[in-house]
Amino acid sequence: MTGTIPLMYFLVISTLMFFIGIYGFLTRRNLITMLMSIELILNSVNINFVAFNKYLYPQHLSGHFFSLIVIAVAAAEAAVAIAIIINIYRNFKSIDVDKVDQMRY
């Protein structure tokens, strides 16, 4: 039944997600939202891996493992990031990314 959805669809979706994520990362002012767009990017990658694995190279499972690992790492990353964001909030009394620019040039 998976055969009914061609690989192309997954790729289009993942690519869209990727660029949406990048767009969000570039435009959102809220640090948490930026973190979420990072998650979007990572998930697009996961979709890629899984899809490729499922459609093109079903004999190995490396794609699946890769996506699992990515998910795990993403969780860790998010944890650290949020910890730092809290610290940011302590220091800046805001989590607006534009406030965080005292070091420049």
Binding site: S14, F18, G21, I22, F25, L31, M34, L35, I38, I41, L42, S44, V45, N48, F49, F52, N53, L56, Y57, H60, S62, G63, F65, F66, I69, V70, V73, A76, E77, V80, A81, A83, I84, I85, N87, I88, R90, N91, F92, V100, D101, Q102, M103, R104, Y105
Partner: protein, 475 residues
Amino acid sequence: MSITDFLTMRHEVLLTILAILILIIDLNLKKEQKHYIIPIVLCLFMVHVIIGFLPAEGGVLFGGMYKTSALTMMMKNILNVGVMIILFQSNGWLRKPDNQEKMSEYFILLFSTLIGMYFMISSGDFLMFYLGLELATIPMAALAAYTHHQSRSAEAGIKLILSSALSSGILLFGLSLIYGTTGSIYFDKIGEVFTNSPLQILAFIFFFTGMAFKISLVPFHLWTADVYEGSPVNVTSYFSVISKGAASFIFVIILFTVFHSISYLWKDIVYLIAVSTMTVGNLFAMRQKNMKRFLAFSSIAQAGFILLGILGGNVLGMTSVIYFVLVYIFSNLGAFGVVAAISAATGKESMDDYDGLYATNPKLSLLMTLSMFSLAGIPPVAGFFGKFFLFTAAASGGYYWLVFIAVLNATVSLYYYLLVVKAMFINKNETPLAHFKSDFLTRVGLVSCMLGIFVLGFWSQIYEIINSLSIGITF
């Protein structure tokens, strides 16, 4: 696991054990005893370094995910030495009251990143590589934000974590495409089937940007200066030498092995990036007043020079890159060591504070001068040899014009390195920094840098060893 397997991946195993040990010891120390952790860690890590130097031939583990060779082991050893010096130098700063109860965290975070680099260096496939990369990056963000009550430190942390997250996202996307087009994540398999179809070029470039981010090549370098400036000095030196060094190592390995088939392609990319990196790095470094920021940009420019070695694309290139990183570790740690010592003693980090330093602290000024000359590539100190061999590698590829641009850039860099020398020796200052005597361990670190700067150049053995090992990995 068998003893041979242990020997094969002893760096990783030992360091992991070491990190856990620290955690346990730390738990059992009372608040006023915390500072005992420093000597303990130093001794343990010393042992680790020594064991790391034990001879052992490489091997492959986990079905090819992890493979190591004499060369990669030496890379790890080089990193170990660098970390050792950094630990020495961090002593004074760690003993400050507000770091009392979290020194062990510093060590643990440091070591976990180091473990990540180990894995990254000896990774056999992209999965291991990615794991190592993240392991080397995420704790670093915590390190950057180490002094949590300082807003700058926090800013550094957030900038690092966000940028690195984005870059690793893009890198991953590239990896997914590579997987999709080649059907494998193992280096050697990919190396056989990789071609230059547009999709693969795109995939490669995305991967490339991720690496470029770690080595902070223009235009993927913008995080560097802010993070370096915000982080504590010793962390900054760790960023600028260890993580950069490790990244360049794996960068060379992957480019030479995995993407060998499209070397004609990546050589052009590297050419482009090298020129922009050297130039932009220099242009920014010229105007910096904060020493850490200054060194940040100088290290960006240095990364540009490393690319010249990579361009050689042969044993010479590999050797020169490793050799240069080794020299660069000592030179840069010399500079950072002085900055760290001064900021630990006086809290001053601006170049203007260094005016007339020679009058009060001649030894520090001398080491600083030597490091500056070494970074600028002036004989007789080691930096000259490092740069010269990089240029030789590039010239062996026939990139004479690139060499010319690079040497001109070296001249520009000499300008701002001399500005520091000028500040310390020539500029007049009524109230120079008072004379101070930094603690024993720090001085050990500084002296070892001094020795390295002097010895590495004239002692051709080191270069020869690196060369003999490099022959193995490259084609």
